[in-house]
Amino acid sequence: MWVLLILIVVVGLWVVSAYNGLISLKNQTVNAFKQIDVQLKRRHDLIPNLVNAVKGAMDFERSTLEAVIQARNQAVKVNASGPEGIKQISQAENTLSGALSRLLVTVERYPDLKATGNIGQLQEELTSTENRIAFARQLYNDTATQYNTKQQQFPTTLVAGLAHAERTDLWEIEDQTERAVPQVDLSRR
């Protein structure tokens, strides 16, 4: 009789702690996803200023700059259209990332351009912006993986339904061109 009672109490305590663990991971995942949003918003706000700052000095690379602006506007539009799903947003953002990294590579190609203070600053800001987004995604993916693993593992999986835990998507690189290592030609100029 006592054994049974103790068993019930132990199981009950375990259910509570497993449930709470899942809920806390779920909320962490949601928060980590919002962090990506915050960083993307920051990038969208930053890009017009950056492009304006280098417009004069980089008149000859107009197409690169225009690609950046276009990708930025597209990304803002997708983001504003609401949470259509992580897939669409990530696609637009990846295009933007690609355009920005091409801009960075282009800047690398002009040493005398780099020498002026403005461009060095621009480079630092761009690198930092890209890094922030990359780290925000990394945090999201790490947290989401932890959450997914936890809810699939036995015995936690028994209370997963109770906590309404569902598998969350990871942030992936969709664009094949982005997956490829950027080719930098150093022989020219």
């Binding site: 600053q121 930092s128 890209e130 922030r132 780290f135 290592v181």
Partner: protein, 316 residues
């Protein structure tokens, strides 16, 4: 911290007992005062520890970055805070040419990271990122609270011990003779307690110091791992540590009490380079060689998994 208060209570009430044996004070004022002092210092160091540590190193807060290097530090710290999922800590610059860095604070919501000018000079962006990642690892593990408090307590123990020591020496001769005789009268248990008490007085600073060392060493490895987790680039931390070590002049502006907060032993003690029992007990940091080879092992395992191509995206 509770251990610290109890230790002081033991020192204090033991002192009263010795006096009581001589029939001087029936009222245990030494014990009460010392316990109060212990509670107060613990509370006080907990509150003001970070400011004290920063003040002692002469660090200046970086609020409005002017130069490129300063802007880079701010950016790097913000990036790492995102990777760690903690709020951005306040950033301080220590005007010292020796490369070093440390973190302090109470919890992730109230934390400080300080780097020396020397570190900014010799590290590239990736390495700086790795070092900051290491410090944020300390912040996220709540090491900063523990270690900052330890740093302040080591100082407090030394202070009280020295003060009490002087008082004792003043009355030394008579006290020894009297209490010895009375202790014998009171039985062997009291004698043993008395001996224990005297010994604890002698080793008090040593004990607190060893405690700080032990905590510090274990946490360094953990913070190295956290840095690798945040940056996914353990080789950058390895090369940063190599650079810091090869520039191993003592960091003059970082005092003894705060040594275990830093990324590398600021005193430039040879002990950090040795392995074995002695170093295991008395060094604040694990051997540099061991830390570097651990990180390199991580890095090469990662490279192998990626098929031998590194795809880091960060022009220095």
């Amino acid at each position: 911290m509770i251990g610290f208060v109890l230790f002081f209570a033991w020192l204090g009430f033991g002192g009263d007992y010795v006096w009581a044996l001589q029939g001087h004070h029936p009222f245990p004022w030494v014990g009460i005062v010392l316990t109060a002092v212990a509670i107060f210092t613990t509370w006080h160091t907990y509150k003001t520890g970070p400011e004290k540590v920063l003040w002692a190193t002469g660090a200046q807060e970086l609020i409005d970055p002017q130069t490129d290097a300063e802007r880079q530090v701010v950016n790097v710290v913000e990036e790492m805070a995102i990777a760690a999922g903690v709020p951005r800590p306040r950033i301080w610059i220590v005007p010292d040419d020796d490369p070093n860095a440390f973190a302090t604070g109470h919890d992730p919501l109230d934390s400080h990271i300080a780097v020396t000018r020397g570190l900014l000079k010799i590290c590239n962006r990736d390495e700086l990122q790795a070092v900051i990642g290491h410090e944020l690892g300390h912040v996220k593990n709540l090491d900063v609270r523990l270690m900052t408090t330890l740093a302040a307590l080591v100082g407090a123990v030394l202070l009280v011990r020295d003060g009490m020591g002087r008082m004792m020496v003043g009355r030394g001769g008579r006290l020894g003779r009297d209490s010895g005789r009375r202790a014998r009268d009171a039985g062997p248990l009291v004698a043993i307690l008395l001996a224990l008490w005297v010994i604890s007085w002698i080793i008090a600073p040593l004990v607190t110091q060893l405690l700080a060392f032990a905590v510090s060493r274990r946490r360094e490895y953990l913070a190295d791992d956290m840095s690798a987790q945040f940056t996914r680039n353990p080789l950058a931390l390895a090369s940063a540590l190599e650079k810091i070590e090869s520039a191993a002049a003592p960091t003059a502006s970082i005092k003894r009490g705060a040594a275990h907060l830093c990324i590398a032993d600021p005193l430039g003690r040879r002990l950090t380079n040795h392995e074995g029992w002695l170093a295991d007990t008395f060094a604040t940091h694990p051997p540099m060689g061991m830390r570097i080879s651990r990180l390199k092992g991580m890095g090469y395992a990662q490279l192998k998994k990626e098929g031998g191509s590194s795809t880091s995206f960060a022009p220095a």
